[in-house]
Symmetry: C3
Subunit: 211 residues, 3 copies
């Protein structure tokens, strides 16, 4: 029961990044739970839906079931680690330089989740437009469900260049793929694009126009 | 990549109505996004879930995956058109006679979505009661998810004869089908019923009793 | 069309409990709808998602589609009965001793839904950890979706030992199963555990620590 938790080695670089992204997203869910004075299991639920919610919605919509985290229980372990981390470090975690660190990891998570979503769409033979949308769903809907559960208008729909970063990353993925680049380079280009857009727009406090 | 967006001609009358319904529902999502000062991509997300959310939930629950809009990317195009329309016409769109026009198209959308939902349940061999429920899910849950995302109690659960119109439409569909009417007449009867109930109850400001 | 509503006799004890659980959960949804001044169909929708929402999410995520209530329309009948009960008894239902009675039935529902969720995970060959999670999803997400629709932070994430009771029940299920107990005993042990935890923590007003 314990051994089954870990998939066979060696793990791909993308898989390791995926686990990092899951942990970071789960941490953002756990922190949100603290702000709403939830108990430890409320915190776990919010960390869970934030960490795997986007990929779950993607898998359910394309019909890739049981959804990914049911086949690889290591995701449950990663989310548990995230919850324990937040519970232990709760006094440190409110400080500003922690938050800045989290933003960088969150950008990595968004980039990696975008790559995984687009790739899964391609594996299912879907239209490039739909693959880009799936990248956005995978990257953004975890945070969206988190904000629904804490009863707030999802922050990614309002203030930040977040969905946009994921969609532009998806476009880069498709363009590089059509240009014949090798798989690893496509991934690197996509993740780098997403991180760059997130960091640049946060640094200079840029927003998309309200319509 | 562009040519694949359009399914082969000729398009059925129901399909054209479906596209109209999708556009109208997407417009109502885009307008809701404006009221919450979302940026252009937040607007797109809200238009998207409102336009295809009901049909997506239906497809996911009956196991018709990948869900419909993934197989026909023209829906993404329709929703993009809706968002662009709202962005261009934003100064006109607040005026009263616009809203009245939208209500009529919204009633058409509700009727057509109801037909499509009930029909899909029949195609999957489900019990008539379940088919009627699927018509309601297809017609109503897009607006329901829209209201969840804008952090309000769904308006269709509160003030208007909306779910009811869709369910009565579904009952008409089943009755006409059991009576042996031809497919096109069933569709016309259902859509007309839904539109008539919506227009009549809005005109005379009728509500169901609170319990 | 009416006869198809009932599955063949004899019904298993677990199935009867499942119907009871569905009715009780639906009642809690219908009562919540009353507090928000929804009309009778809004009440029905809220009763529906509360009664079958958890099992629907479970089935969708493991790919058991069409979801359970589509194959057995008796659930729609049970939920209709719940709505009618609440509509008729609305003056009695606000009284304190009614609420205490509902809490006991709600605990039964939570226990039975946990059993059904864990069992379905096992039937699909999933990892024990995932089966426990599926028990929690089945038991808890109906109430969670209910609270999202009424625009409140889900109560089960905040104040009560609810998710925890379901998860501990799931652990008991797996332990008894690994110990080789017979199926009926596993069910009884799980349901009893969940009910005991719920009743005990409500009686002594216990909460998990906030983190």
């Amino acid at each position: 029961m314990i051994n089954d938790l870990f998939p066979a080695f060696p793990w791909s670089f993308l898989f390791i990044q995926d686990l990092i992204g899951t942990i970071v997203f789960a941490i953002s869910g756990a922190i949100a739970a603290r702000q709403h004075k939830m108990d430890i299991f409320g915190m776990f639920v919010l960390a869970f839906v934030t960490g795997v919610g986007g990929g779950t919605l993607r898998d359910v919509m394309i019909g890739s079931t049981p959804v990914f985290w049911m086949k690889q229980p290591i995701y449950v372990l990663m989310i548990s680690i995230a919850v324990i981390l937040v519970a232990i470090l709760r006094n440190q975690i409110d400080r500003a330089y922690w938050k800045k660190g989290l933003l960088i990891f969150d950008a990595i998570g968004l980039g990696v989740f975008t790559v995984i979503g687009v790739q899964k769409g391609i594996d299912f033979g879907l239209h490039p437009l739909i693959c880009i949308a799936l990248g956005g769903v995978t990257g953004c809907f975890g945070g969206l469900i988190r904000d629904i559960l804490r009863n707030e208008v999802p922050i990614i729909l309002q203030k930040e260049v977040y969905v946009t970063a994921s969609l532009i990353g998806g476009i880069i993925f498709i363009l590089f793929r059509d240009a014949g680049f090798e798989s690893n380079w496509i991934d690197v280009a996509t993740v780098t694009t997403v991180i760059a857009i997130r960091m640049f727009t946060i640094r200079y406090n840029l927003h998309l126009p309200k319509v």
